[in-house]
Amino acid sequence: MEKEKNEPFIIERTYDAPLKKVWKAITDKDEMKHWYFSLPEFRAEVGFEFRFVGGPSPEKQYLHICVVTEVIPEKKLTYSWRYDGYEGNSFVTFELFAVGNKTRVVLTHRGLETFPAGNPDFAKGNFSVGWTHIIGTALKEFSEKK
């Protein structure tokens, strides 16, 4: 039996700003609206729920429903992230690391494989297994071949 390893989606950035400022920018609704989404309210507290409409393109807009699941002030913020009316649930984590006067932000999006691929032809249930695995391994090999 092969052990399933779901590789979550990870993206990193280093910002020329002190950690406190970056933390405030990702947790204060008045700052979030400048770069993220406009929320009527946001609190970095476990259990806080927020919703917003967004999507990859103007014709593809979804109501996002998110609940804060983990907060370590100025270090880590996690909230669930799902789409109203669709199955599946994922988790978005922001982790902050001070690098001198700069701040490294590591964003991890786990559980993308729980969403249906938005294509009715895709067999339900099959979607959740293996694709993240293949992205981490075979896909790299495929793309190197191109």
Partner: protein
């Protein structure tokens, strides 16, 4: 039953086959030699992978070779790509925003109202 890429890669044996043929064209017998399961079972996996377009089987003389069709895996990567796009856009915007607020207060601090530098 319709075949799709996501279904095809849901099975660990099929993922192994994909990885095997991703690197080079592999003779079908050689594919089977890599696994403990029966040859008919391997044939069935190869058939599924062929049906959904992930691999192509070509006859070369008396031998049959499997080769991968990388474009088909794009269906999978496209799915992830939309998230890459979302987060790249957002994190870039965060960078721009931080730059803006950094330069704002700084210039205010340098010179006080009376024109003298801060002590």
């Amino acid at each position: 039953m319709r075949r799709d890429v996501f279904q095809a890669i849901a099975d660990p044996t099929r993922r192994e086959i994909i990885k095997l043929v991703a690197r080079r064209h592999v003779n079908i017998n050689e594919v089977a030699d890599n696994f403990k399961i029966s040859r008919p079972a391997i044939s069935k996996h190869i058939r599924i992978l062929t049906e959904c377009g992930l691999i192509v089987v070509r006859q070369q003389g008396r031998e049959r070779f499997c080769e991968s069709n990388p474009h088909k895996l794009n269906e999978v990567s496209d799915w992830v790509e939309q998230y890459r796009k979302i987060w790249t856009t957002k994190l870039d915007a965060l960078g721009d925003y931080l730059k803006k607020i950094q330069s704002g207060p700084k210039s205010k601090n340098k010179i006080k109202k009376n024109g003298k530098r801060k002590k």
